[in-house]
Amino acid sequence: MPTIIDIQNLTKRYNGLTALDDLSLSVDEGAVVGFIGPNGAGKTTTMRVLTTLLQPTSGSAWVAGHEVTREPQAVRRAIGYMPDFFGVYEDMKVWEYLDFFAACYDTPAAARPGMIDDLLALVDLGHKKETFVEELSRGMKQRLCLARTLTHDPQVLILDEPASGLDPRARIEMRELLRELKHMGKTIFFSSHILSEVADICTSIAILEAGQLVAYGDMEEMKRKLRAHRLVQVRVLGSLAPLQEFLLRRPDVHSIAAAPEADLPRDAVRFDFSGDDDALSALLAALISQGIPVLSFSEETGDLEDVFLQATRGIVR
């Protein structure tokens, strides 16, 4: 896949404060990248540079092959941007709002009515076409703003906290919408604090902290990479003692935990395992061959919160 966003050694300083520190990152075309990090990590600053709204102190960034400070108009043609805080023109009707932005993107007047109907159908606002924007709910305004980013059919969507401030239902609708856009082949670069949502739709995640990229890669690979040990839970019939004795002799098994100390069923043991998939399979075979009556043997999949906490641990003090 060709690279569509390329950031090289990007640094941004404001009044002695370093918001971005030598950030380098590239995004492949068609990827959905979750850009995560705590407040003040530099996510919005990165997005503002990419969307031609901010001049970097040093370094460069390219979007669809165009350098953001030298070819801003070409970059604007390639991107659809939704900021974290945005306003809407309250005294306009929904269709007028989209028509205005479509005109700002040089969309021919004759092509606009059909395009507006399609976009409103996509964001499920077709029934609100003649409604004034001020009468829309927060979630609807968010969807309208997303429709606005699509009026010129951009290659890349840069969305800063697209689900912030939404109620759970609106958040689910936004997530579905992003999934739909992913299927349409759009490259989506978006920031979020809601890590579980990022996990649901992203192909990659980039973790930023204190202006530095602390981790970036394929979603599953990142989870594996950032977890030094795998968490395994085993349930057995009868006493746990033979199982615990067996595990204690293994060098690749650490931190064995059981009830009542750990939050586990009375017939279960949980431990860290430092081996790969083959070693894990061999461990199960060894348990069986030792005559330990295994009821279940499963690896606990860590969620993105674990990945995030592990990746950012110790960087911000």
């Binding site: 969307t51 001049q55 991107i79 809407v88 023109y89 005109a103 700002c104 993107y105």
Partner: protein, 296 residues
Amino acid sequence: MSVLHNPVTTKELRSRMRGRRAFVVLTIYLLLMSGFVSLVYLVYAAAANNPFGPDPRLAGKTIFGTVVGIQVLLVIYIGPAFTAGAITGEKERQTYNLLRTTLLPARALVTGKLVSSLGYVFLLVLASLPIQSIAFLLGGVSLIEMVVAELLILVSAVAFALIGLFYSSIMRSTLAASISTFATALFLTVGLPSAALIILPLIGGVFFNPVIASPVAEVVLTYIGLMLASTNLPATIVISEILLLQEDALFYTMQTIGGYTVTIFSPWTLYLVLYTLLAVILYVLAVSRVRRIPDR
């Protein structure tokens, strides 16, 4: 992107003319102007010591002057109020960044805001022309007086609107932009002539000192006075009118000052040049400010 197809103009005009507000304001403006003109006429008629009523030509002139005066106030103080909030309003509404990431050129954004703001001001000026034309029924006002007055008002409307737009492009809040705009408008219309009234007699006192007085100094002082008058709309209108009525001089007249015959230009010509130049400079500055990618 032509002015007629500018999306900002379309959006702004649509929003401004939507609902009753624009029409209510227009109606109130015309009612106030009609009431004020009637009052001026009645006061003038009552004061005229003539058994056959007031001299219609002088009454016509009074009405014409009253309407022009109201239009001057409109373009200097009301027009810029629309433009001072034009770009800061987008910033405060958090729509400015949305616009700046579109393909809309900075020039189109500034022009759209200017045209839509001026459109409404011109609507108010045009709507008051029928009241102004009463002066023609009474007589005493020539067509050329009206053309010059309206030309001055037109150029002033653009220039003062651009003062507001310039501050709107460089400031973050509408309040700060409005205060700066009014301060500048006050300086140009009140501050500068007041300073001139204080400074010129002082300079004149030196030049006209019998010991060092010279005809050349008198000529220079006359030109300085004319040039200063050409920076001020009310002074420009009054002096141009006096030259037109007393000397029949539309563009210039020849006068003998201190033994020299010099050309005295009518200040409206220089005013048009100065304020057109000011408007162009402010427009270029506002566009470059909107176009620039900020570093913070």
